[in-house]
Symmetry: C2
Subunit: 261 residues, 2 copies
DNA sequence: CGTCGCATTGAAACTTGTCAAACATTGTGG
DNA sequence: CCACAATGTTTGACAAGTTTCAATGCGACG
């Protein structure tokens, strides 16, 4: 949609349907900031394959349109929004959630720095779920159309994107195994150990971290009620596997936790 | 791995590890048959985007190496196998299953004619789960390396592959909602309606079909025990929602089933 | 300082799993 | 072609795990 169309749309009072189309686009337009450089980004290694030439890197730079800031509780995009961009979390964290018409919700993932958002939109051209910031966060905005172009030019980049998508498929199938076969304590243990690993990979402590999500959101991700999450954490604490002060988690016995799973 | 390497490997007794590498490759080599033509395949519309020129179609033909027949109960590939090929189900049906080291199993999908297998392997270069034929089946074998090449040449083919992967991501996240939020009867109803739709899309009856999988496999897919699957089907039958004679299913009241979900 | 959302904990209710037995179906070898 | 074995299915009774409902405490924020 060209910006002239956006202007026209606002000359009369836009319908909710039209607003739904335009708002995410406008958000991205107005937030467009000075050129974002992948070539100097510390997260470069997660967005691009290793071994790109300087020339190739600057080609990649050219397709990262902008960064966007999303405040805690706000959505990056919602189910039904037109798909145009992929997003890379630069700072902060998000949840992806699918809402059924009857109000049931399922959190399908939590994304932290260096992880990808928006791949669900390619299939139909519209996003399949909502993405909500768990804290004030920043994402890089990548035009998917331009990404496809770059992938036709640079083999390694093409394969990198394919790996990214396949990784999402593998991640989801692991979560399906968790939801399908594990009991409550196993699920919580697996969840904490997975987070722990991801924090470690970012250079943070694997033993102590701050949960950005509520017990309800954890439960919604693990397929159980918030009370069960709370009880399980209390039990782990009683068993000296961890120390939980609200959202602050300290893992005391990672092997013991791993033995649960 | 060139075929000379395969020959060498067999001059002495190969180790289990070496066999594990070679067997799937050999299987694909020996089954190589006369050229398979996508251009004349009735399933063409699922494997290729619409609107390819004759020239482009013949380019696509060139990368479908062969078809392969898999007997009921045999595996197409297994977790840990080297990833080289994607597969399109030409006839028959499969289950994809992840086996945890402690023996827990999760069926992550059932694939019927026109559906894709193997996307999980791109991530690490090795397959992440087992694929087992539920009946004697035939797949088209597609070299992924060559597919990537074609995708760099033909925009629409590139986008088609991206849609395929994204569709898998969306499918899995729907299954996660099922596993995370639904009760047994809702899961079974959703499962039957989903199968029904897919059969319908293939031109078969949406009301009456033959399940290729056992109650145990259905349970393993839906995150419940086979007894619960059986009881749920019996209840549906008592409520005149469907008629189940073993694996033969006749849906009597699709709206009633949909109301369960 | 009160309110609101979040977290914890207990008791009862419900759903699903477990174990066991009987029956049905399929496939195989005599 | 039949008999038998193996596998798959159905059903019941009981146990276990999780949810539901309810009460209470905690901490952030206006």
């Amino acid at each position: 949609m060209p910006s002239s169309a956006i202007r026209e749309a606002f000359e009369s009072v836009p319908s909710p349907a039209v607003l739904r189309e335009i708002v995410p686009i406008v958000r991205d337009e107005v937030n467009r900031s000075a050129a974002v450089r992948c070539s100097t980004c510390s997260m470069r290694n997660v967005c691009t394959p290793p071994g790109l030439t300087a020339e190739e890197l600057s080609r990649v730079d050219s397709i990262v349109c902008t960064t966007r800031t999303v405040r805690r509780g706000d959505t990056l995009f919602r189910s039904g929004d037109l798909f145009q961009y992929l997003y890379a979390v630069r700072a902060g964290s998000f949840k992806t959630v699918i809402v059924h018409s009857d109000g049931r919700e399922q959190v399908t993932g939590f994304q932290i720095t260096g992880e990808t958002l928006g791949l669900d939109g390619i299939y139909t051209g519209r996003h399949n779920g909502d993405v909500v910031a768990l804290e004030d966060s920043v994402v890089c905005v990548i035009s998917f159309l331009q990404l496809e172009t770059v992938c036709r030019e640079i083999h390694t980049m093409q394969h990198h994107v394919h790996r990214l998508m396949s990784g999402e498929i593998v991640r989801e199938s692991r979560l399906m195994m968790l939801l399908g076969t594990m009991r409550a304590d196993q699920r919580v243990a697996a969840f904490l150990l997975n987070l722990s690993q991801r924090f470690k990979a970012l250079g943070y402590s694997s033993a102590e971290f701050h949960l950005r999500m509520t017990r309800r959101e954890i439960g919604c991700y693990l397929g159980m009620k918030l009370e069960t999450v709370s009880r399980t954490l209390s039990r782990f604490q009683r068993d000296r596997l961890l120390d939980a002060q609200g959202k602050q988690i300290r893992i005391l016995d990672p092997e013991g936790l791993a033995a649960c799973v």
